[in-house]
């Protein structure tokens, strides 16, 4: 079962700020869902190959030749804070 501390730890990993209410609710809800998920925890699947891809596919490659791609101005057009042809962000350590 998931406790408050675990919820806060996972929220940090997921870069998600949670309110106290959300932390409380999340602990209960995640525990309930994991209880259902745990039904498969005890299945003996020793030696079973995990699925990596459902359809048999060989490597998909193409010739290493330049193709047209998105113009820089188009890529930046929807950015919250474009600056000098780049994406500007707050300092990692303010």
């Amino acid at each position: 079962m998931i406790d408050r501390e675990q919820v806060l730890h996972v929220a940090r990993l997921a870069r998600l700020e949670l309110t106290d209410d959300e932390v409380e609710r999340m602990a209960g809800e995640l525990s309930g869902i994991l209880e259902h998920v745990d039904l498969i925890a005890d299945l003996d699947l020793e030696g079973v190959q995990p699925t990596a891809h459902v359809v048999a596919l060989e490597n998909v490659l193409r010739a290493d030749e330049p193709e047209p791609s998105l113009a820089r101005s188009d890529a930046l057009a929807t950015a919250p804070d474009p600056s000098d042809g780049a994406f500007r962000v707050p300092s990692p350590r303010a």
């Binding site: 700020e17 998920v37 193409r62 990692p92």
Partner: protein, 480 residues
Amino acid sequence: MSEVVDLTAAQALGRIEAGELSADECFGAYAQAAADDTLNAYLWTAEPGDGSRAAGPDGPLAGLPIAVKDIFCTKGTVTTAGSKILEGYEPPYTATAVAKLEAAGARLLGKTNMDEFAMGSSNENSAYGDVLNPLDHSRVPGGSSGGSAAAVAGGLAPWALGTDTGGSIRQPAALCGIVGLKPTYGAVSRYGMIAFASSLDQCGPLTRDVTDAAVLIRALEGRDSRDSTSVGIDGGVELPSRKDLSGLRFGVARDFSHHAEGVEEGVARAFEATLATVERLGGKLAEVDLPNAHHGLSAYYVIAPAEASANLARFDGVRYGLRVAGDADLGQMYERTRAAGFGAEVKRRIMLGTYALSSGYYDAYYGQAQKVRTKIAQDFAAAFEACDFLVTPTSPTVAFERGARTQDPLAMYLSDYFTVPMSLAGIPAISVPCGLGSPAGGGPELPVGFQIAAPAFAETRLLDAAYALEQAIGFGRPAS
């Protein structure tokens, strides 16, 4: 004009080809209907005159309008995936699926409402409000392609594109009384389709009949160099024409059904009646075992959130969408942006997925789930030795009341019980309306969906069988 919106897409195409209906008139009728939308099915609609400004009615789809789930990027037209984090976002490119339909002559009619990032089974998780079921406004249309299903069933679109990760085309099609096809994984390009769970996501048609589904999948399928998982359907897809089911074996997995929780009596009755119709058409019923399929939901609710937690990491306030600046550093900007931009269900799944992938839990959850997935795929492969198709109800219930499951995530997840195993195995499955059933709590009867699944890339055979069944059942568009 009301007559135009009663036609199936193939019927409208026939009239346009015969010169009895102009493409502009058809587009105008739907654009007007979409503008008058009272179901909240649309997040954006074209103006009635937009049709004539489009590339033109050349190509096999002859200028027909199409509604597109708001998860597909459309250049210059707002694309939100039902999320506040993408409010007002205008993508700089168009999804291959949409571009292919436009190249075939289709015109974008509107972008349909959906559960945020396709996470939900009721369309109550949209940041832009619930979608109403056209048959009963107090009930949900299903999800996550709820807007697409409601638009098609409600006469607001001749057909629509949706996406299906664990049932998101088939379940809303069932709840709204229309046809929904989830193609084989790899049949259709996902380029420009905002990713939820990449090992499961596939796009496909929601239509009023099986022929329309075939027409759309023919135009959609194919390899795309921009999606390396796309392979197309070898030999393409034929339009269906089959009149009976003689010589075909339909597998029924009783054990899988018995593990289902909360299957309504009305659903069970309509399903059994349809099995009788299958036999009447010359089809043979075969008992098959899918011994691991009932673990599908448990595996799915590890795999899908795990992959979603990685895919949704891109929504960080840097390159597009919402940014909520913190007073402090970059990390706080990320955390506040995501806190403000994502809804409750999306947060729940990101948390679940991040937990399942976190150090010390990966093997126990994601690794184990991917092994269960292998077992389920093996179950299907073995079953298809003894039958040509597998059939189940699409959803355990008919359309349920709005609000009935929003407080209990697990109850909501159980909606996907019958549809998730096919997604995990990557095989195609179609939902066709097979009759009506009473909701558990009483009230007027509502549509029940019949799910038919086939081996990978057997879309032509699948559509052919569904077509024969459709002719026998005689479902038309439900009155709305």
